[in-house]
Subunit: 312 residues, 4 copies
């Protein structure tokens, strides 16, 4: 039986996202307390793969995930899923909206529901919790001083709470992107709508390095869809880059660009090629297709061997 | 009397950083509960300026600060300071190291002292707090179940705790950079070692936009020292850029580059030109100096008016 | 009365081109033996301006013109004209096509009429002349061993020859572009369809210099329409560049690009901004218009003085 | 026995250059009247290879050679040689310097000896010839009205003239570069100091195409040593590019760049990889060496097949 890990505890958006993936159907799900622990579960073989949050359209990237993938024992991303962030207001059965004077949740969740709360609970007070799930646990305790928690619907289910208001987030478009991570292995074949994730460390004190990196992609007709700089933890002003490109290591233009980066950078860590959650096809120009690469290689090989292009 | 705000509460690294600045000498210091509240204090004139954390060499940028400066009512940065992050282990007077079985601090602080803690307190347990300062407040309470808190030295002073181990962070090089923010006003003159901070929103669906932005700087001999992408909160994959360049808006190459960005970007928000905390001189090439710009303008003006270069 | 020079002798395409320009209407026309002599006529004030050939769509650029403008006492281009190259077969009155056994012209003219000659005069022989005009002069002599000359129509008129076949060139599209050169003076105002000609000497041993030059234009949205490399006469492999860009020194983007080149190059020689012969409007993007530049300058000036953009 | 052609007639610099090459030692040498005829001699197999002039450090490129190689039935360059251009003043035996009142040569040769002639023969007159060799032929005729010809030393030998002044050119550094051309065949192996010559036709109406071409080289660490634009003969303003790069098609970075150009350009014509006449080693950075390419390919292949870099 397949075992899958996730960044827990139970009752978080990560669990909800994992349950939405077909792979979770017949798997045993195991929750971990931190992103690092989740990934360690994959590394030591306790689970076959694990889901962790990667970036949120409101809060930005999840630093713990970026840094663990950049510095920890190497892993690869094999799939991704995006989940609309929908917050529910949860109470112990029997509590009504008008009973709420004190509620709790993680400050991020609070920040994202502020407008709704100001309108619906103008007189109630907020107190921060360490996570959405711990807020639900707290409220589930009949002795709690809190009457309500805010978090993903799934938390109500897990902790026996009732949802008395759903979808209370202020930003309808808020999404979180989660990645499924496994031990390193051969990537699945390209689908035509793939993403490749990389971590790049530049050579020291090299102004213009970012421009060079972008040029390696531009010359091969490859689009960047995400680029983040993160501190290397050595000193202020020293960064590495985490980035996503359109395309798959099984495609020639991606291979050539990665090899180029490998030559000019201090280190390029390949974090996997996998199908995009939105299924949108890559926008590579015709001149950068696998067919164009194959034809150009045939051309150059003929020139090299015979001094003339191939017969047509 | 001057009034200065900071992201509190009292007893955090931000307060410690502010106290290290000459400007704090004769000022009244006011602490705010959130970064947003701190900046609002500046906006409404409650304080003349305020200090907030901007980036940390281990944790990365402070999203709340980046987003507030990008989206909130505009402000400018007028100064910066960097502080070495030194953690102290604090106890109620009388407590000894061997008494400690349970301690608390913010998870970031815990993460940065993990090695020291594993060696010195192998059997004690950690429980997370919402902030370093709230951990100190908690421990200061004689009824607390915690025997120790971890945080900046200044917290011990404020909350009546004793420091029984100092400088327990695992990373000697860890620094946080703080920025002093004021209402928009004319920047102080260039010092030759200045930083200019910008927020850039690109036109929608424009692949290659980042390359264009970097080229605007490269062509004018300007170095980038920081670049971050942050979500625009609209949808996954839609980012704005926050960046620092070497140079001052009072210098010609910076003005020309900013004007160029203003023409090609959806929006460029200028966040101030101010002296670098490390005093390192800018590395602009001779061909990008103010003298070179002035001479080239004289040359072009003569050509335009007389069809010939100026007499020499 | 205005005096205009041209690269002669009488009876060449250059004279024909000059006569097609309105400015020639009431002027005294003076022919010179070489391009250098023609330009010297302008330099010493013997003529107010002079027409010389610049490039031909079949033969390429006229090296003598390029080099004279690059190295000689500086002049500027004030206008240009393009002429379709139409060759006529000219004979002494009374000669018929079937009488022709030996004909002469400049080897370039011969090369451009080869197909027609092979079909119409399969048995006649060709002997090279030093110029089209000298061929006509030769044939005009009743004692000449040649029965026919090939050259511009105007030569027949000048030297009393009859045209027995017109428009015998093989390439219908062949054109020559001529430039009208004067002493340096203020350029006429922009027309919206202008060309600016430059000569650029790069700093020695600087690989990547051409890329830098092209970037100075690209960043300001300026199109190149011609670029030539010419030897500097110092050693093999040492070149200068002669180039045309779309736009006028009276336009902000052109001024900024020229000033940028002036800063990074060994020498930039401005050879004038003048209306294009084809009247085609410039293709600069909206973000590079004079309005966009003016607005961006206003923006940057407000930022510099007040730390905020101009009120709108 | 090997047969080698050259652009004649006998007595030109091209013959002198050919005789300086070891390959000419035991070969039969055949002269042709034009560059086109010379190359046709190679195409039809009349000669095994042929030498034609390519560029001159004073006059620039030889258009006939560039255009023939760009448009004619394809050939490749297999070697090159550079010759210092040294002019001799030649007379019929018995003539003295003071006897000279009229002399002849090609106008290019005249232009390059003007200073010497002004000093040594201030009162003599010049009359142009169609080539240096035809000037020598003319003067060799006892009935000639000319007393002297100017040209390469070898012409005196061929036409029975005496050299009464040698090395009379004004520019000590003047050199001509000649190329040895053969039918297309496998290139000789790289020497580490090679040149590769290309002809590039860009896609129509594509502003920025030259920048793209230069980027294909720059990204692979390849230096350009010559770039010329030549008219395509279609219309004014439509050009192709002839260029030399440092490196050999047997080197990985060159192959990758050529394949890239092949994908984005209308047509790339490969004109051969051959040892540089000056023997100067290529300046490719370490990150663009064959070793670096091989290592990067091994890296990418391992990633593709196993999702992990090769064991080290």
């Amino acid at each position: 039986m397949r075992r899958l890990g996730f960044f827990g505890p139970r009752g978080t958006f990560t669990e909800q996202a994992l349950l939405s993936m077909p792979i979770a159907g017949d798997a045993e799900l195991i929750d971990y307390k931190t992103v690092a622990a989740t990934l360690d579960g994959v590394r030591c073989g306790e689970v076959d793969a694990a889901l962790v949050p990667f970036e949120n359209s409101v809060e930005g990237s999840v630093s713990a995930t970026l840094d663990e993938l950049a510095y920890g024992e190497p892993l690869v991303i094999v799939d991704e899923v995006a989940l609309r962030v929908e917050f529910a207001l949860m109470v112990r059965p029997g509590t009504e909206l008008s009973d709420i004077t004190l509620y709790t949740t993680h400050p991020h969740a609070y920040a994202q529901c502020r407008d709704w709360l100001a309108a619906a609970l103008p007189d109630a007070h907020f107190s921060p919790a360490l996570s959405n799930a711990s807020a639900a646990v707290e409220v589930a305790d009949p002795a709690s001083r809190f009457q309500a928690a805010i978090g993903p619907r799934i938390a109500a289910e897990h902790y026996g709470l009732d949802i008395i208001a759903d979808n209370i987030g202020d930003n309808e478009a808020a999404h979180t992107r989660f990645i499924l991570v496994s031990q390193r292995r051969q990537p699945a074949p390209p689908t035509g709508a793939d993403c490749t994730t990389l971590v790049i460390f530049i050579r020291q004190d090299h102004a213009g390095a970012l421009l060079e990196i972008l040029n390696e992609f531009a010359v091969r007709g490859i689009n960047l869809t995400r680029i983040e700089s993160r501190p290397t933890k050595k000193q202020l002003g020293d960064y590495y880059f985490s980035l996503d490109i359109q395309g798959h290591i099984g495609e020639a233009r991606v291979r050539e660009a990665l090899a180029g980066l490998h030559r000019i950078c201090l280190e390029v860590r390949y974090l996997g090629s996998y199908p995009r959650h939105d299924g949108r096809a890559n926008l590579a120009p015709e001149t950068a297709s696998d067919e164009a690469f194959a034809e150009s290689m045939e051309w150059i090989d003929a020139l090299r061997e015979h001094g003339r292009p191939p017969e047509q």
